[in-house]
Symmetry: D2
């Protein structure tokens, strides 16, 4: 008997679309999931020829230039939202209304209100909906989760995380959509801070209060202009590029109290020179400490209480046959990378569909993360410790 | 205009077949190569239902249970040999005779004689033929090669490499084909030593003389029996498993002189407890030193002469937009793994076909490696420094 | 002509006394300082025979059982205060009044008020007074300072630091003086947080505001009893050890804004399992990033902007002939440790005396650090961002 | 009762004299050894004023300009030979004849014959005699030894070691005594190779056969001239510096078989750019693997069999109260360096004197090492595996 087929409609022709495509392209063969995925159709807001070329380049059978049309198609089972943050809500609502399963990139939305609306929508529509915190899918992170659930860390005391990048340190880097609040919601906070907040919620538990701060180091940046405009500027004589105001944070950092007594520190920045995608966290418990860094994502750093003069942090290569989320891959010691996390992510989505349950992380996990980020932003304004609402 | 299509026939349903399939599955979408690959047909010596299932599982359109038949099919352009060493020669000869392009896993053959025959065959048939030293395809290794060719290391003095694994340390590990000389040719020498010898030849140059040694730590191992036989053994009362003689080396290690004056040390072993796939090398030159370790394959270790009190080995994350073999992948800092090296390898094979040239590494590179391994094995017998013949 | 001699009187027979003794014992021979030090006399509050034995063991010529007497001796030039925090003020005031130079262990005092009184006292008495932030004396830290002062980091954006230990994680660890507020002032905050606050002030500049939190994980601990009492307890039948309340923090963590626009995160804890003396900080600037960790104190981590595909954090071995604070030691690559930092510290004290200037770090530096810690403690109570007063 | 006093006479005013002085200066106070050391007298072949100044600078009570005189003094108990290799034999013989205990820097001698004579001499004279393989004294190395002796590694399979430096890579580096065979005996082989050979003998056991090679990369170097000569050269018009032949090896590398079946690789070089004092070894056994690198001398790398998906190499910080050779030092996590190894070394010498036994490593250990180096040098000539004689 042939397996049930899940036809995917992907919204977004950018970097995230490419990464998600990698997930869909390999999941059937690597994981042999209970339902089989088909890369049915992609849509984008780019000119038709570009969307068409992207469909072909990434291996999608068909394309649409109107995402609403794609969502409404009867032959689509799963809508993948790989678009900029500011359209997530609108697209998710349409997909839910159309009864589609959803895989939406993080952050779920640009505001807490928006995220709440989205969760309500998928609950009402009773569809499966996943929020794409892809880093959870690294085998080393899954091993960490397994250890924590088995009580191997004992009582947890500390969580600390940083997410460091450096791609906008050049003052001449232009005012892209990610630097404009109406489009991006926030800067490093929602882009990078969302990941470390999610890791904290996933591995340690709910956060009750935060006290944080947002910082914009470079407040004006060159406005991105069309090619025609740039030609004109040059014609009138080397006029300096027009500048616009950066309306999001370059860096966000905060202290946190968890409901279970754990204390934590968080830092997300795009101004850490030399750091490209340095997403790193550590957890200290009464029985063990663990740590993980994305750029070395195949390792889990692990210290276990006891051991006397021979104790020490060990570098666990999370490529063992028994490591969770590893079984589909290679012999021990043959590492995987960023793309493989998307294959694992899609596997979870398909398994949830087959098992008729919400995927992990769900839209509600996305909402919980949003509530933390929202509290951080409010605390940065009030200059006080701020409660994170239950959602 | 549609691109020319290359139909692949893959021989081998094992781990290597899975890895090569990953390469073919992703190369069109990730690299957009000048010719397009089609996963046409797979063959295996397993029972028909298993071959059929493997074809489906790995995404091959068709299957054959007789590899000769597959090679003879007119609709196949490229034969991929992902089978055990001892059939490489026979299969490559058949493929060459049939005028197919070939991608053959390393080691090229089980003996120097065999490798020579293979090179002659593909030369006579004028087919493109690649030897699968996949690790060359890591972007960090390509960056190393680029730096050496640009003279950035100056005069090279030292090459040192180890390839450490630990998967057969258990004395109860059975006498698999890889531990039998008639099937495997050699042990750690051909399996692991081949990779570090190839790296040396690729990055540093020809080796003129070697002095080495082979070591078998565990000389008898349980013979692998069929399920029926095992049942019988149990019936007659807990009889200990029958043991057979290990006829290959558990470890190989050697000193080498290169024709250009460089000196080197090499070690390949399956008895380095805790090491899973620790393939690591370092090169010291008059202007710079570099180093690489597969398990951290996205980094190149790099020291540059000068710098006074601020000099030091830097950890170069080989994920920069300008890093060779990286362009197809992700933003800076989003690492890749073992599977992606196969995608890069297949890209080189397809590019060579499109450009009507031999791929790199070619069968001749495989032969040169074999000549080094052969000299090491002879030196282990004669107990003398031994010349590596020009091939 | 013989060099001027500085006779030292050391207060304290504990671990710190031993570490400072190591400094005095080696400074003449290693650094050949402009004035020569003599280990004249030690005092302790222990029984006479213990103080006498300690004097002999550590190499002091004489001993006193009354520190006031030691301070009043005419033949003493420099008073070294290596006693618990709560007596620093009293001893420093007496030493200043007696016109002695002072080297006082950190934290300068148990309160901001106390620290202010101490600074006024040494100003009035016009004596040289150093606060023992020993980690500043590591050559790698001095190299960092040199680079920052030369502008090599450009504009600084981020400072982040942790100081992690695990020595009181056992709930049966007793209620020692360091866990009692009246004696220790604070817990991890003053003991460990003082070091990272000082590093921030030294390397980055003044801190304007902080928002932090203090946490005590284990609130009751066994009271330390005399041997006689313990015998009695056992006699009455296995009665559980009496417990007392821990009145200091086990962990302190805070966010900070610097007056120059830098933002920072700080964490000090005694509950980070597996971490013994993990004092670590990183600084990100527009032109370079640097980092340092005490347990690898001979290295400075260093990234420099530019370098394209060959950029990366380098591990600078701060043992180069040109590295500041290294010249007295060994050939390149022959590392030093904790004790050597005290030798370097004493060298600075002696040099300051010879040059008739305040040593670095001075008592005022100790006071500035105290002001930060005080603001953190207040902020933990008010739950608001809190200004750090100028001192 | 006062402890017995051991008066030391140190031969050598150079770098090694300074390092040994550090050992003597601190051993009484740090280790409280069973006999007390007194830094009695130093001798050197430099002009009297320099020897006198060195005595004062390093803390020696007296000085002699004739080392024979120093050896003959009745008030000297222990002769420390910190001079260049080529005078070790003559000085050791004189010291033995005078009935003095001896601590002689490695390598013991410039030839196997010479080393044998020295061992006979001290045996005949029945004096205590230590060979200064100082790196053995690092606590992490002592921990390794303890683990091996307790059987924690199981059956040992592999030893691999490198000792990498880069201080003579500049072709203009002059022809110092260390580059002249009559004075130095050999180059990297005896200077660096001696250390890794000794580690192998100490930790793993006797070596039965070796096959190695010696390499001199730069064959001519500027002759060191006196200041007067240099002035003359300049006067006659920028004449290029006179060059002389380098008669020792720049690099030595060899394979080895141990009598207990272990196999090993060794490499010692002064041409590994970026490596300052990179003395590093690893041992793989059936139950555990360990590794150590001098530049990170406070760590022992340790993998233990078992552990499934949570196994991994751990970084053991060898600063635990139970770590051998650590007790004298600081709290856990407060590292030590190169100098402290000499303090530990002198402690062993004094303890051996007090316990009326030979110190470890003894002169015989120095001889065994020499036998290995001698076999390597012979093998480099004969181009064959060469037996290491029992000594």
């Amino acid at each position: 008997m042939a397996k049930k087929v899940v036809n995917v409609g992907l919204l977004g022709c950018g970097f995230m679309g490419k990464a998600h495509s990698f997930g869909y392209r390999n999941v059937n063969e690597m994981w042999n999931p209970p339902v089989k995925v088909v890369m049915k159709c992609i849509s984008g807001t780019e000119p038709k020829r570009i969307v068409k070329a992207t469909a072909k380049a990434l291996g999608w059978q068909e394309y649409e230039t109107d995402w609403r049309r794609l969502i409404e198609r009867d032959d689509i089972d799963l809508i993948d939202i790989s678009t900029p943050n500011f359209v997530h809500e609108e697209q998710a609502l349409a997909a839910a209304k159309a009864g589609k399963a959803i895989l939406c990139e993080k952050p779920l939305a640009n505001s807490l209100t928006s995220a709440k609306i989205m969760v309500k929508a998928i609950q009402k529509a009773r569809v499966k909906a996943m929020c794409g915190f892809t880093y959870r899918q690294a085998p080393a992170v899954q091993l960490a989760k397994q250890m924590i659930e088995a009580g191997e860390l004992g009582e947890i005391y500390h969580f600390r995380a940083v997410y460091l990048q450096d791609w906008i340190m050049d003052p001449d880097f232009p005012l892209v959509w990610r630097l404009q609040k109406p489009l991006a919601g926030s800067g490093a906070l929602g882009d990078l801070g969302a990941h470390i907040a999610d890791m904290a919620l996933y591995l340690v538990g709910n956060i009750s209060e935060v006290s944080g701060d947002l910082k914009t180091f470079i407040k004006q940046r060159p406005v991105q202009t069309t090619l025609a405009e740039r030609g004109k500027e040059r014609a009138v004589g080397g006029r300096a590029a027009k500048k616009g105001r950066v309306t999001v944070d370059d860096a966000a950092y905060w202290c946190a109290r968890f409901t279970n007594g754990v204390v934590g520190t968080f830092e997300a920045t795009r101004f850490a020179g030399g750091r490209k995608n340095f997403h790193s966290w550590q957890i200290n418990g009464s029985k063990a400490s663990i740590g993980w860094t994305f750029e070395d994502m195949n390792y889990l750093e692990y210290w276990k209480a006891g051991g006397g003069s021979k104790q020490g942090f060990r570098k666990v290569l999370a490529t063992h046959p028994e490591t969770p989320n590893w079984q589909a891959w290679w012999p021990d010691g043959h590492i995987i990378g960023y793309g493989e996390c998307f294959v694992n992510e899609v596997k979870e989505m398909l398994t949830a569909i087959a098992e008729n349950r919400q995927p992990v992380p769900s839209f509600r996990d996305g909402l919980k993360c949003q509530a933390v980020l929202d509290a951080v932003a409010r605390s940065a304004k009030t200059r006080k410790w701020t409660r994170v609402p239950k959602v």
